[in-house]
Amino acid sequence: MESIEKRISLLMSTVFEIPESEISVNSSIDTIDSWDSIRHLNLILALEEEFGIVIPDEEVGNLVNFKLIELIITENVK
């Protein structure tokens, strides 16, 4: 199985329709132009499906950069 980091960047690249090379740990809603509210919803749904988790309500709005996404995934994937 690929690392969580790799899976997240692949997934973000797919959802935001940008090359994976443009995704880094420093990527955020400010650096990715296509990250709008609809894509954000799709991102959350895709993350939940990919990792088989449910992201808590209060976190959904906070997941606006790579590091936070990785953190919440790592915490929830056991």
Binding site: L11, V15, E17, L41, N42, L45, A46, E49, E50
Partner: protein, 587 residues
């Protein structure tokens, strides 16, 4: 059918986007909730059917006005949800007076009229029926919202024009369960109540419409035989052990699937067989097995041979003169379904579920909608017509990429000499294996155990795994030293389970054995093929491996090979390891 994850669909859709071109097919989705997640799913389904879509969304909660705006689109899908509407009503809905409810109802009916009238020139409109899925259920007394939903749906049914399809969204929700279908979190944050599983199920529901608008109904069903049309393996179990009887627990699912297939055949769907088996065995079942529902007259074409199925299905497509994309392939083996998916991606693939009792239902759910069953008497005769008309083309077209496919499997052989832990399994294989078995000598556990202690005998067994999992111990080779010549050995048994035929595992295995014997200082290897009713497919195996004839008779062939002349086979895509010997033999 393997269900793709949402991100996989996004990826596949992106790839298809580059491939599919042509006159754009314009789809508009009008809704009063957020359903944007469905965009790529619809695009993906249309592109898979060779249609080049442009999917647009109307403004949020602006269905009536937008229905005029988007009327020129080829397909308009409407998500008219009561949730948004009810939210906009002050006060709790169940507390509303009958007059108020009546006002709401009248207003919605008026809107429906306007929408239908605005879209009267649109080729196809899908209007989702109303559902009360969001709202608490009235188990004993119907709630006001439920009764409103009932009345609105009745109104839809009576006022629905010819170009409008009513899709029962409540059934779609019910099929996966409200808990799975609706996610309140995103309703609050984004007015997006529906989950990815719901949208996927929705795409199944809308499939007949997608197929109709793209002119891509399926035409043919290609069945594997063993564990697909019946329980068991005809080549191994024989006529009296395979099951497809309506009265047997194990056979019942297969009976039901056959019954559906027969019905489809009567409606003009072409039923074909593609199976790795001896043709005579399968013919015997179709002719003589008392429990078969499908008979030869229901089958258009049979490909029963040992050629890979991708090649066979390409031939079926050519011989029946139908596109690959109009074929559905059904098999119980993950390896075969995966092969077809990779080699012939145009084909729709259905894998028999591991839980066989789910087979008929899952078969119906996945496939039934893919056919145009508005069949006439004429269609019912089509099977016969096709059978009379088509001329079999004898040329065979192979394609090189089978090798690519096999290398993607990550086949790994773990070879053990005299594996005492698995004596039971080894003996069982000698007793059960009929098709890939060069001499068909049966051994008991005691005999195998004795051989393992005997310095003149070597038993090699192979444990096989690939990316789909372990096949376990599936191939055996028993080698005995020649009592008259200590530089010579003979291969007493060489056999392999039919589950793993067609991957060159036998070549890799025998190659290993020969090199091992050479390393041990042996010079000459003798081998024998003994003909039985079942093992015709291996009669040239030793020739293929470079052995030379010593004697040829009606009942078989004797061979030898000089190990110093043996040219090893390089099967690059199979990795192997040797677990050494549990009994060191000195030479």
């Amino acid at each position: 059918m393997v269900e793709l994850k949402y991100t996989q669909i996004l990826q596949e859709n992106k790839i298809l986007k580059e491939k599919v071109s042509g006159e754009p097919f314009r789809v508009a989705i009008l809704s009063n909730i957020t359903v944007n997640t469905i965009k790529e799913l619809i695009e993906y389904d249309l592109r898979r059917n060779g249609v080049n879509p442009i999917v647009e969304f109307g403004n949020f909660d602006n269905i009536v006005q937008d229905s005029l705006e988007y009327a020129d689109h080829n397909l308009v899908i409407i998500f008219f949800d009561l949730q948004t509407l009810v939210d906009n009503i002050p006060g709790y809905f169940e507390g509303l007076s009958d007059d108020k409810v009546d006002q709401v109802e009248k207003r919605i009916m008026g809107e429906i009229d306007l929408i239908f009238s605005n879209l009267k020139t649109t080729a196809t409109v899908v209007f989702n029926k109303f559902t009360s899925g969001f709202f608490p259920s009235g188990f004993i007394k119907i709630t006001k919202i439920e009764s409103l939903v009932d009345r609105l749906n009745r109104y839809l049914t009576t006022s629905c024009p010819m170009n409008v399809e009513l899709l029962d969204l409540g059934k779609v929700v019910g099929d996966i369960g409200i808990g799975q279908a609706i996610d309140v979190r995103f309703y609050y944050s984004s007015k997006a109540p529906y989950t990815i599983p719901l949208f996927k199920k929705y795409m199944e529901a809308i499939k007949p419409i997608i197929l109709r608008v793209s002119g891509k109904f399926k035409k043919a069903l290609v069945f594997d035989c063993d564990n697909t049309l019946w329980k068991g393996v005809i080549g191994e179990d024989g006529m009296d052990k395979i099951e497809m009887s309506s009265t047997s627990v194990a056979g019942r699912p297969y009976f039901e699937v056959q019954r559906i297939a027969k019905f489809l055949s009567e409606r003009g769907v072409m039923i074909c067989i593609c199976s790795k088996n001896n043709a005579d065995d399968v013919e015997d079942v179709f002719l003589n097995h008392k429990d078969m529902v499908l008979r030869n007259e229901d089958i258009i074409l049979k490909k029963v041979n040992w050629i890979d199925k991708a090649t066979n299905i390409r031939e079926i497509s050519r011989e029946l003169n139908i596109g690959l994309e109009s074929i559905i392939f059904i098999d119980d083996s993950a390896m075969e379904t995966d092969l077809i998916r990779q080699q012939v991606p145009e084909i729709t693939v259905f894998q028999v579920p591991a839980a066989v009792h789910e087979y008929p239902k899952s078969f119906l759910n996945s496939l039934y909608n893919l056919f145009d069953l508005s069949g006439t008497e004429e269609d019912r005769k089509r099977t016969t017509l096709y059978k009379e008309q088509f001329v079999r083309q004898s040329e065979t077209s192979k394609f090189e990429s089978i090798e690519d496919y096999l290398s993607s499997l990550d086949i790994f052989l773990s070879i053990t000499l005299n594996d005492k832990v698995n004596i039971g399994r080894i003996a069982q294989l000698t007793q059960k294996t009929n098709q890939f078995n060069l001499t068909t000598i049966r051994y008991s556990e005691a005999q195998i155990a004795e051989y393992m202690e005997d310095h003149g005998t070597m038993i090699f067994s192979v444990f096989i795994k690939d990316k789909f999992g372990d096949s376990g111990i599936t191939a055996i080779c028993i080698v005995k030293e020649d009592p008259t010549n200590n530089k010579a050995v003979f291969i007493d048994s060489f056999l392999m389970s039919c589950r793993i035929i067609g991957r060159n595992i036998e070549v890799c295995f025998l190659d290993f054995v020969l090199r091992y014997l050479k390393d041990r200082g042996y010079e000459n290897v003798l081998a024998t093929y003994r003909r039985t009713q079942k093992n015709g497919q291996v009669e040239s195996f030793y020739e293929k491996m470079g052995f030379k004839f010593q004697a040829v008779g009606d009942d078989g062939k004797d061979y030898f090979i000089i190990l110093s002349e043996y040219v090893p086979f390089e099967i690059a895509y199979i990795r192997s390891e040797f677990n050494g010997s549990l009994k060191i033999k000195s030479t």
